[in-house]
């Protein structure tokens, strides 16, 4: 199950969804909005997606993760819109028969998501300025 949403992520429901009698381990990863990025103070983030492609890429990551760890379930949700510090921006829940697999599968899924899914965040700094985060490009406060 994959989803983009503008509502707060119900990661408890997401985790419940992946629990299976055949799986003894569940690992849930949450990305939360941090107050500091380097030395700069973040007050909020805005997340934007190329929605249809983001969903397609998330579905591919789900399929790839299932192919590598066939026994178990995976669910991932990414939130869009305006998020304050401490709010959950992304949740990935994975169940597997054993814990080493569950940790590895969850890590794999979130690593691929951060690498491949067309979603962007815009920093809202304490001084009122905003700046899109594009890793590897030269930062130009906007």
């Amino acid at each position: 199950m994959i989803q983009l949403t503008r509502e707060p992520i119900d990661y408890h429901e997401l985790t419940e969804k992946v629990i299976r009698p055949s799986c003894g381990a569940v690992v849930t990863f949450l990305g939360t909005v941090r107050d500091l990025t380097g030395d700069e103070v973040t007050v909020a983030l805005d997340y934007e997606a190329y929605g249809s492609m983001a969903e397609k890429k998330m579905a591919e990551i789900e399929a790839d993760t299932r192919a590598r760890w066939p026994d178990g379930e995976i669910a991932m949700v990414h939130r869009l819109g305006h998020l304050n510090v401490g709010e959950v921006s992304v949740a990935v829940a994975v169940s597997c028969p054993h814990r080493a697999q569950a940790f590895d599968a969850c890590r794999h899924a979130i690593d691929r998501l951060k690498e491949l899914v067309p979603i962007w965040k815009k920093e809202n700094w304490a001084d009122g300025k905003t700046e899109w985060v594009h890793p590897g490009s030269v930062a130009t406060p906007g």
Binding site: E48, M53, L116, P118, I119, W132, H134
Partner: protein
């Protein structure tokens, strides 16, 4: 041919629009599209080399050839998660 290119995040802010229409030759490759976009929108020139290009919601290589029916998007470096 005339193609529309979707723009996101800083690309959109720099262009001041969420898409841009550019005229390109038939059999235009992704690399040609980058040049045409830079000509049309000089403000994008610095960011364009860092961007991926998506054709029909799939990352495309620089030698891929555009089709008039493709959904085309510039994908600046992603920062989800």
């Amino acid at each position: 041919m005339i193609v529309r290119v979707r723009l996101f995040a800083r690309c959109r802010d720099l262009a001041g629009a969420d898409s841009v229409v550019v005229e390109v030759d038939e059999a235009c490759r992704v690399s040609d599209l980058r040049l045409a976009l830079g000509d049309k929108l000089p403000a994008l020139r610095e960011l364009l080399p860092k961007c991926a290009v998506a054709l029909n919601e799939e990352f495309a290589k620089d030698d891929a050839v555009l089709s008039i029916t493709d959904e085309i998007a510039m994908i600046p470096p992603v920062s989800g998660g």
